[in-house]
Subunit: 441 residues, 2 copies
């Protein structure tokens, strides 16, 4: 049985960029020594993370890539955000991500001017969050407010007399010059669920109103105004989610899993499925992250006995959102260099892919298929010799697969999976080693 390494370059895969005469991956391809080596001596293809044409959020995409059926097993992003930010979330809670934002009042509506309040500093956010928390407690609202980094924060709503539901809409309209929205229950809920969602939405709406009042009058915002900084006078909430107990990655696939990631959401998803963290100095989730140290973290994890390691590199996506295709390409080349030590590992199956494609012309996630390679010392090979979209379309021996099939394919190459139909265990698992109890005579 081999160990498995899943390398996710967030937002890998792109569109035709006229200036580059191809995708970023295609443009930079000649410099990709490691990735080209791996696909040449391995097998490639493309995956639609969920369904063709559906641009995935990072949390749903990662869950799918980890083999979870998000159409059944997903219950909102807020849980993973809270987990990733080390904010305690209990059974029954509903958690949301929020931004400190700048709004103006217009005819009784709050119109958004800046969704991130000028990327307010973590120091300022901390002060505002603390005072907002106190005001909400004074108002008798059962909520927890925690800032995380810069404009980001987590809002936890706790149940009191009534149960809560995560099936409520965002107050964040996701666009500037739009009003903050009233949170509402999803349509089509059962009466009980509707009631729970209404209670939750009401609390969120109340929090949003109080936040505007408290923050507008806050001394710090007056100071910010004097300095010419945008006021952080509102909060925009999104991605309500409840604490869930997902089948752990270990129980599902039989691995002892670890992760190397810096972004809070990715840590949250990895923790949510029960992976252990490998801490790495200098991992930041930005272009300045210490790529070499992250790769050494993967190797250290294997040495410590983990047999599945998830390595997440975020900034490929950031550069796409910032619409910098050339910088995206160059950053991929940097990653390629950093990944080189992985080639020296024995008894591993390595997959390199993205969680979704991101267009660096449009600055958003897109539903186009994502390049993927699998490499091992014993594997079916194909004719693909270069790691970029078109080469994999025409020569990729995996063809077009669904994201949810990636882990089974890696396990198959790693000799970790039983034939379909064998059933030594009462549990519906299919990894080698899953057995029931011995017969006592």
């Amino acid at each position: 049985m081999k160990r498995c390494i899943l390398v996710i370059l967030d937002g890998l895969g792109d569109e035709f960029i006229p200036d580059l005469k191809g995708t970023p991956l295609e443009y930079i391809n000649e410099k990709l020594e490691t990735l080209n080596y791996m696909v040449k001596n391995g097998i490639g293809g493309l995956h639609y993370p969920f369904k063709p044409g559906i641009p995935m959020s990072s949390d749903t995409a990662h869950l799918t890539l980890f083999g979870y059926d998000i159409s059944r097993e997903y219950s909102g992003r807020g849980y993973f955000e809270a987990l990733g930010a080390n904010v305690e979330i209990r059974d029954g809670d509903v958690a949301l991500r929020f931004n400190f934002a700048t709004v103006r009042e217009d005819n009784g509506k709050l119109i958004i001017e800046d969704r991130r309040a000028g990327r307010i500093s973590t120091e300022d956010s901390k002060i505002l969050a603390k005072d907002l928390q106190q005001a909400l407690l004074d108002a008798g609202l059962p909520v927890v407010v925690k800032n995380t980094t810069e404009h980001r924060g987590i809002l936890i709503i706790r149940p009191e007399k009534n149960e809560l539901s995560w099936k409520i809409t965002d107050t964040d309209p996701h666009e500037i010059n739009e009003p903050i929205l009233k949170s509402q229950p999803f349509e089509g809920l059962s009466p009980d669920e509707h009631k729970a969602a209404q209670v939750t939405a009401n609390t969120l709406n109340e929090v949003t109103k109080i936040a505007y009042k408290v923050l507008s009058e806050h001394e710090l915002n007056k100071l910010r105004e004097k300095k010419g900084l945008p006021k952080a006078n509102a909060i925009l909430a999104r991605g309500a989610g409840k604490a869930v107990r997902l089948t752990s990655f270990k129980e599902k696939w039989g691995f002892k899993p670890a992760y190397v990631a810096a972004g809070a959401l990715y840590k949250g998803v990895a923790r949510g499925v029960g992976m252990d963290e490998i801490k790495v100095e200098g991992a930041t989730g930005t272009v300045n992250t210490n790529l070499e140290a992250k790769v050494q973290g993967v190797i250290r994890a294997l040495e410590r006995g983990y047999d599945f390691v998830f390595l997440h590199i975020k900034a490929v996506d950031n550069l796409s959102h910032d619409m910098k295709p050339l910088e995206k390409a160059e950053f991929i080349a940097k990653i390629d260099k950093a990944l080189k030590p992985l080639r020296e590992l024995d008894d591993v199956v390595i997959t390199v892919t993205g969680d979704h494609s991101t267009s660096s012309l449009r600055g958003r996630h897109i539903g186009m298929p994502v390049p993927i390679l699998m490499w091992s010392d014993r594997i079916r090979r194909d004719r693909a010799e270069r790691f970029y979209e078109d080469e994999l379309v025409t020569k990729g021996g995996l063809g077009f697969i669904d994201g949810i099939n990636i882990i089974p394919l890696m396990m198959d190459i790693a000799d970790r999976v039983m034939e379909y139909g064998l059933r030594p265990s009462p549990k519906p698992v299919f990894y080698i080693g899953a057995t029931g109890e011995p017969l006592k005579i």
Copy 2:
């Protein structure tokens, strides 16, 4: 409308074999006159039998290739094993395949030393099975024990007061040096189903204990020990299955189907879906099988009015399990020669593929896609000119398909399928000729 021939080379498709500088199919490709002719004048591709990365057992793979949805219509391998071995199985019965095996007692557990008791002879097995049957009857257990070939046998559990269920785990751990397992109900059954499964599992566990006692003390085993042969002192059961009434192949697709196969399991699956047997002298399911006679059997079936013939050739898989890639390649070349007369047939659609890929480096089924070709005198052609994995990846006009789509594709080429939406028949069938009752005026 054309007749259809489905040729399954069991375990076709492989990995990169360093010594052969490619897969066995790629290595031997220049010698494949018939298969290359067919793909050059036809259309090729690859299929994932069930899902990418899932290595299929032969029974589930064949059912899928016959167009059955195993996630809904499968109820265990035992039924097909029993059918193939000509062991009577009645409604309500649960059937299991078993092996005579060699175990040692260790701390109340039975540790497996040889899963096939040194491939014990059919003669010896027959004696043991007969005496085991008697002992189980004496113990009042409602079971039938039949040996088939060598170490193989069928165990039928009959219902008495209580209903039975096939949803029980194997006692066979599928590995040596592991203990025989206690059979248990699958997790997640309804209370009624759990009860039925518990009754069935209890009987199997009782049989397993009695078998160890009776066989350990059997005179024949004492004799075997003297001769230096491993004792056949235990049975390992697996693949519990119940008698099912699958929609027949005829009813589902409108064919009058026949099969040419030697292996018991393949006969069982073909019988289970209602195909008629074409008996062929010298068909053995081994490398020594009479390939020419089997192909003549196919032609004879067409002459006798069958319009669908399933031809199964087993030894491609055996050579992969034995990790003999060169012999696998050479045997495929032998098959290629034998298939030549099929080129002379008129009005046929011929598909050649495998039920799953088997790695001849690892000696096991793998979840990689399987080469497929379809040939007819009137068909969309593609650029593929050679029948091997990479050629089909890069030039296969069918692309990557699921195993369950093979029969509809053949029927489409054969002009046997109605447009989606046409509905002259009350039944949910879609073959040409399916109609309801005439209107009386």
